[in-house]
Structures are given as C-alpha cells and as structure tokens.
C-alpha cells in the first residue's frame, strides 16, 4: 500500500500536513460508512474497504516514524526490528542513563522531574525529525543515501518510546502536564 498515493500526496517526508488533513477529511466525506447506510451490500463493503485504507494512510502519513517507514519500504529498503542496523553504543548508553533518571523520578513520584525529562526528550525528538526531513530532501530516492538514514529512524524510535513511557508515568502520578 502506498499511503501517499491513497491521499494524492507527493512521496516526500516534508509534507503540508494541514493540506493532507483536508484531503483526508474530504475523502472521509465521500467514503465514510454513514454515507452508505442506504446502499447495497457490495457498495457498502467497497466504501468501507476504501475508508479503512484512507484512515490507515492518514495515520501513517501524519506520524513522523510511520511516514519514514513507509518511505523506506516504498524505496525497497526493509525496516523493522530485525532489518535495521544496531544503534550506536553512545545512543544506547545515553538512553540507559535517561531511563534511570526517569525511573528515579517515578520512584520519588516527582512529576516535575518527569516533565523536565519530557521537555528535553521532546526537543531531541523535534531535532532528529528536522534532520530526517533535511536528509530525505537530499537523498531523493537514492537508495544508497536512504539506507544511511535508517539509523536516524532508530534513534527517533528510542525517543518516542521514552516519551510514551514518561507519559504513562505522568498518567499514573495524575500530574497535570
């Protein structure tokens, strides 16, 4: 499946998400099951299949990690746990330290400390997303150059997992964020 084509978008990392959201909404207007309550079974099924595809495409395209994954896959580069290069040791060490700090903050039920970590990690996530976007611009379908980018995707994954964990901890602590 090509989520970019489904939404009529150019196959790039840098996207006008607002325009894409608009297209998603217009497509939903056309394909949502609510529009086919009075239709025959095959028409209902066809619209449903397409509505699911459109929603899936939008879910992929709007998400920095899934969007990158889709671009790699469409360029013939396999991604996912077993296919990606091992992360750099420095990154692993760094993440381990961050995790420890997070664990300590959780142990002390220190919401403020968790929030501080969230802010720092969000900044790193934004930075790597920017790097990824710039690199995708340069690589432009060149498989060799693209392959080198996969490591950045791995990094992004680490940051996100950390942020998800921190978010769950904040939920548990019931701290406003």
């Amino acid at each position: 499946m090509d989520p970019f084509a489904t939404l009529g978008l150019e196959r790039t990392y840098r996207l006008d998400l607002r325009a894409a959201e608009k297209t998603h909404r217009e497509l939903s207007r056309t394909l949502h099951p609510d529009r086919y309550v009075g239709s025959g079974a095959s028409e209902r099924r066809e619209a449903l299949e397409k509505a699911v595809l459109v929603n899936e495409a939008w879910r992929i395209v709007r998400d920095p990690i899934r969007r990158a994954e889709a671009l790699f896959t469409l360029a013939g580069i396999q991604v996912g746990d077993t296919h990606e290069p091992k992360p750099a040791t420095s990154l692993l060490m760094d993440m381990m330290e961050q995790r420890e700090t997070l664990g300590e903050a959780r142990g002390k039920r220190d919401g403020k400390a968790v929030e501080k970590l969230v802010l720092e990690m969000s900044a790193r996530k934004t930075a790597i997303e920017g790097e990824l976007a710039a690199a995708f611009d340069v690589a432009r379908g060149d498989q060799g150059k693209l392959t080198l980018l996969v490591a950045k995707l791995g990094e992004l994954r680490y940051y996100r997992r950390f942020l998800e964990e921190a978010s769950a901890i904040l939920d548990d602590l019931g701290t406003p964020s």
Binding site: E26, R29, P33, R35, G40
Partner: protein
C-alpha cells in the same frame, strides 16, 4: 402493513435516536431539521431505566417499575447499564447493591445473570425491555419507526458495545449505528450553534464518565481523542453517601445484606445529593425517627476522589489531542451528574472556563442521536460528517502474556490492522489468538475481547505457514476478524468466542423466545425490515442515476431499471427471502456504476474540488 405505508413519504418510517442511559433513557426524532424528545402520556420525556419482573412473568418498565423497587429490590433492576458486557465474575457485581446473581453454568457465556422472581435474565434482555418501551413510545408518536441510532459511552469497550447492539436487535430495532454519547451531544450543540472550534465534552452520567475532545469544522465533527471510565458516575456518589448513612445510623453488615435496606438507603442518598444542589444542608429521614444530615461541604469531600479520577482522564485526553486547556474554545457539560455544583466548579477550574450547559444535559445526547439517525436514514445531508475514534488500544497477546498493540487508542474509525503469524510446530494445523483491549502492557491487565482458533491450516513444516489476520473496527466501534493463510490463499473460518457476551446463537435464541409466536413473528419482522431496506436502496439507486447519468455504462440503465421493478414487485409480496435476493440483484446490477461514482468522488476529493452545483448541473445537461 400495506405497500403504501412504505413508499408514501408522509407515512415513511421515521428514524429515531435513543439514549440508553444508566439512570434514564429517552427517545427523540427529527422534524424539519429540529430534534424533539418524545414524551409519554404524562408529558414526561425521561424514562427511568428500571425494569421490574413480576412473579407471573410480567415485566414493568419505567416509573411504575421504579415504584416497586422499595418493595421488590431484588426483582427490580436499576442501572442495568453498569452490567452490560461484563462477566459474572466482574468486580462490579460485588459492589453494594440489592441483586441476586446466578453463576454461569459450564459452557454458558460469561455474562452477568440476575435471579428475578424465579427467572434468570441477562443485562442484554433487561436493556431490551427498556428499548422496547421506548420503541412503543416512538411508535405511538410517529406511527412507524425506521431504524435507530443508540448511544453508548465513548469509553465502552467492544463487549459493552456488542451487548448494546444485541439489546437493540432483541427489542426489534434496526440499529443503524451505535453513536458515542459525547459525539452525539456535540452534534446537537454544533448544529444548534453553527460554531467552529475545538471543544471538550465532559459527560458524567449515572454510571459512566466520558471526556471527548473534538474539532468542529464546517460540518465535520472530528473526534481528536476520547477517554473515560465506564464505571464511574452519579451512582458512585450515591454509594459514597449511602456508606455515610450506614455509618451514622450504626448499621453494619446485617443491614447491608438486606436488599430492602440497601435500596432504601441508596434512594435516600440520591435524594440528599439532589437536595444539596438547592440548599447547603439536607436532613433526610431514613426510617421513621432516624434522620441523617449532610452538608454540601461534606458531599464535596465525598465526591472529590471521584472528580480527581475524571481529571486524570481529561488531562490524558488533552495530551492525546496535543492540546492544552487554554487551546479549547469551549467545554460542554452532558449527563445528569453535571448538575451537582461541585462537578461544575471542578470542570470550570480544570479547563479554566465557564462550561456550557444550555441544552438540557439529560436530553442532549438523545437529541444528537436523533440528528444522526436522520442523517443516516432520513434526509441525507452531505455537509455533515462525524469522524469518531477507537477509545482503547487493540492488541494481541504474544509470548509471555505481553500485549502487542496493533491499533492505538484514538484511531479514527473505520479502521483496520493486519498481523502476520506463523506456525511454531511442524504439521501445526491450528492457532489460537487472544484479542484484548486496553492500555496496559500485560494481557491479564487488559480487557479480554475474544479468543479464537484458526483451523484448517494445511500441514507444513514449522514457520512455513503464513497467516494474515485482519482486524477491522467499524463505525460502531465493533471488531471483526478475518484470517487468510498466505501460502495457499485459503480463507480461514474464524469463530470468535467473545470473552464476555453472548454469541450470535444465544441472541437468536433469545429473539425467538421473546416473540409470542416465535418463527412466524420473526418472519413477519424480517419481512418488514426487508421492505424498509428495499425502499431505501431503491430510493438511493434512483437518486444516484439522476445525479450522475453520465457514469452509466451501456445497458446499465435498463439493467438497473429492471432490477428496481423486480424488487418493487417483490416488496409487495410476503416473502422476505425473495426481497433479500432481489436487493442483492439490484446491488449487483448497479455495482459497476457505483464503483465509477465512488472513484470519481475520490478523485474530486483529492483534487480538493468540492462537487459544486454549477459543474454538476452542466454535466447533467450535457447528457
């Protein structure tokens, strides 16, 4: 029913919207674009969600049933919604309440069973009684009812949704859609005020709490995130007050086991809660000579922990929507429990703005449901669209009892996910899959939805078979599962056994039992339903042909016309199966035309061009 009834637009069956609430239920319809709640002969719109079972098999619903609760607490089911889609071993059944439960026999579905006057009933059957009463009310007002939208808490899981849909079916309703309560409320507000912006809907009912953040943009109601607690509401406030009453009167375990005392105390507790909205102190006589006095400050203290639970859900929903409270354009209050002053004050402080409550919080959900029903089966308007989300993440149990999340919460519906599995042993022909819903990491901490076994995998060495399992969540928020063996292309039969809930057979059996003349009644019902469906599909097809004649291929017009005539004729007959067959034939003869229309609409949506009337008119004239 004569054919005229079906095709005369004035007598056309009217779609209805139903709010099946914990404490009250009500039904509404739309006339000239405005929704109206239907009242009973006493001009009361709120039907108490209470069902009383008499010794001779009689069933009473509503105010009369409520009046019996004090005398027959065990036989009078109050707040049945709290038991929907829950297992017999659910902690909900162990809470303070007057009921007697029957444990499930081996092999029986794991659902709550009430022992009432020598009968055993499930929450689905109890809810169906409420729905039947509402249907009768609607029929008295509208003559014929054609399809219903039933609302559910946004935070209801799959089992609770399925139970609600089953109850609708059992009550003889064509359930057009299950609609999330906060979304229904937003629809009522949005269409009333014609406002754009981002809103939070804070919905605290008798037994459930929902928070929904949604964007209103030119007729599109797009839910950004939703959260809540499907076991948190006004009932919990009543229970907290009841515990105070028990303590102050020095009553203990003995009194708590007496269903009459429990019912009485819970009722007094609710009266105290209501009274404290008007006055700062309420003194209530529990039994002659024994009174309890409660102040508003004491009530506030009792419900503070409950409100904090809603606060956690609200903050998470805001975070999921990538918003802060300051970014909201408004907060809408829904549900009877938002009348409690402390609740209003809490919401105001939490979101930093005065919440809106100008549509009756008890009625707004049903009014929104009626609007949606009208959009689905009445006058379709393509300028309005509801885009809702899944409330809980969907996952599969993998090794070590860990959950592999395949669909995150807050995914726009309809949606789907695929997962590929392989066999672990040589010649393995079956495969068990456990589907769960929830945010926790371990399957045991999530809600179990279903276990099913994929059978009939051709014998192959381990790791050779590739099973692709497709999960789909439809616009009702309901899950279906399909599986395919990739190497052979073999479709697998998936028999989903719901973890909590009734399978199709059980519902069918109840349906037959519920009808006085079983099979023949069921056939009559099918006939009526198929006639309605036939009328609807003929209308839709004729409209499509008129709108886009240029997309008809050679012979389409004749084929479709013949199919419509045949279906029309069959609708005048008495054979539901024949109507069904001819509906399928009309569907088949217009399939190519329908696909071309859909594809053109897709192309237009992508180009960002709205189908404007001028262009459409010119195209029509050209042919």
């Amino acid at each position: 029913m004569t054919l005229l009834d079906i095709f005369d637009p004035k007598a056309a069956p009217k779609p209805i919207g139903i709010d099946l609430g914990t404490t009250h239920s009500l039904v509404a319809y739309v006339e000239d674009d405005r929704p109206y709640a239907i009242s009973d002969c006493d001009s009361v719109t709120l039907l108490p969600s209470v069902v009383a079972y008499g010794p001779n098999g009689s069933v009473t619903v509503g105010t009369l049933a409520k009046a019996q609760a004090a005398e027959h607490p065990r036989e009078t089911i109050v707040s049945v919604k709290r038991f929907m889609g829950r297992g017999a071993d659910d902690p909900e059944t162990a809470r303070l309440g007057p009921y007697a439960f029957v444990p499930a026999k081996p092999g029986e579905a794991n659902v709550v069973r009430f022992d009432v006057a020598g009968r055993v009933v499930t929450p689905v059957e109890v809810s169906a009684e409420i729905l039947k009463t509402l249907k009768r009310l609607a029929e008295d007002e509208l003559r014929a009812v054609g399809g219903a939208v039933i609302t559910v808490p946004a935070y209801f899981d799959d089992a609770q949704r399925q139970a609600t849909k089953d109850a609708g079916r059992l009550a003889g309703l064509e359930v057009l859609r299950l609609l999330n309560e906060p979304t229904a409320a937003a629809l009522a507000y949005g269409l009333d005020k014609k406002q754009n912006g981002t809103f939070a809907v804070y919905d605290l009912g008798g037994g459930t709490f929902d928070i929904t953040i949604l964007l209103l943009d030119d007729g599109v109601f797009q839910v950004k995130s939703t959260g809540g607690d499907s076991a948190l509401g006004g009932d919990d406030m009543d229970r907290a007050i009841a515990e105070v009453i028990f303590t102050r009167l020095g009553w203990g375990a003995k009194e708590k086991e007496d269903p009459r005392v429990v019912r009485l105390v819970l009722d007094r507790a609710r009266a105290i809660k209501h009274g404290l909205t008007e006055s700062p102190t309420v003194e209530a006589e529990i039994v002659p000579g024994k009174s309890v006095t409660l102040t508003r400050a004491e009530l506030d203290g009792l419900i503070a922990p409950l409100l904090d639970r809603t606060g956690v859900a609200c903050r998470r929903a805001l975070k999921d929507a990538e918003l802060t409270a300051a970014g909201l354009d408004g907060v809408i209050l829904v549900g009877g429990s938002t009348r409690v002053l402390a609740v209003r004050a809490y919401v105001k402080a939490l979101f930093g703005k005065e919440p809106l409550a100008d549509i009756d919080p008890d009625q707004v959900v049903a009014l929104g449901a009626a609007l949606q029903a009208n959009l689905l089966a009445g006058e379709a308007r393509d300028d309005i669209l509801l885009l809702d989300v899944t409330p809980l993440s969907l996952g599969i149990e993998v090794g070590g009892g860990v959950v592999d999340k395949i669909l995150p919460r807050n995914t726009t519906t309809p949606t789907g996910a695929r997962a590929t599995y392989t066999t672990q042993e040589d010649q393995q022909t079956g495969f068990e899959i456990h589907v769960v819903q929830g945010e926790r990491e371990l399957a045991a901490d999530c809600r179990s939805l279903a276990r099913f076994t994929l059978k009939g995998i051709p014998p192959m060495p381990a790791g050779m078979a590739k099973l692709e399992v497709t999960f789909r969540v439809d616009a009702d928020g309901l899950l279906t599962v399909h599986a395919r063996e990739e190497t052979t292309g073999l479709e697998q039969t998936v028999s989903v056994k719901p973890s909590y809930g009734l399978d199709d057979e059980a519902v069918e059996r109840m349906l037959l039992d519920a009808l006085d003349h079983g099979e023949s009644d069921l056939r009559a019902r099918r006939l009526a339903e198929n006639r309605v469906e036939a009328g609807r599909i003929i209308q839709a097809t004729e409209k499509a042909v008129l709108a886009d004649p240029e997309l008809l291929a050679e012979g389409d017009r004749e084929g479709i016309r013949a199919a419509i005539q045949a279906l029309h004729a069959a609708s005048q007959g008495e054979d539901p199966a024949r109507i069904h067959l001819l509906i399928e034939e009309l569907d088949a003869s217009s399939k190519g035309f329908a696909t071309r229309r859909m594809n053109r609409a897709i192309a237009r949506a992508i180009e960002g061009r709205k189908v404007d009337d001028v262009a459409g008119g010119l195209a029509a004239e050209g042919h």
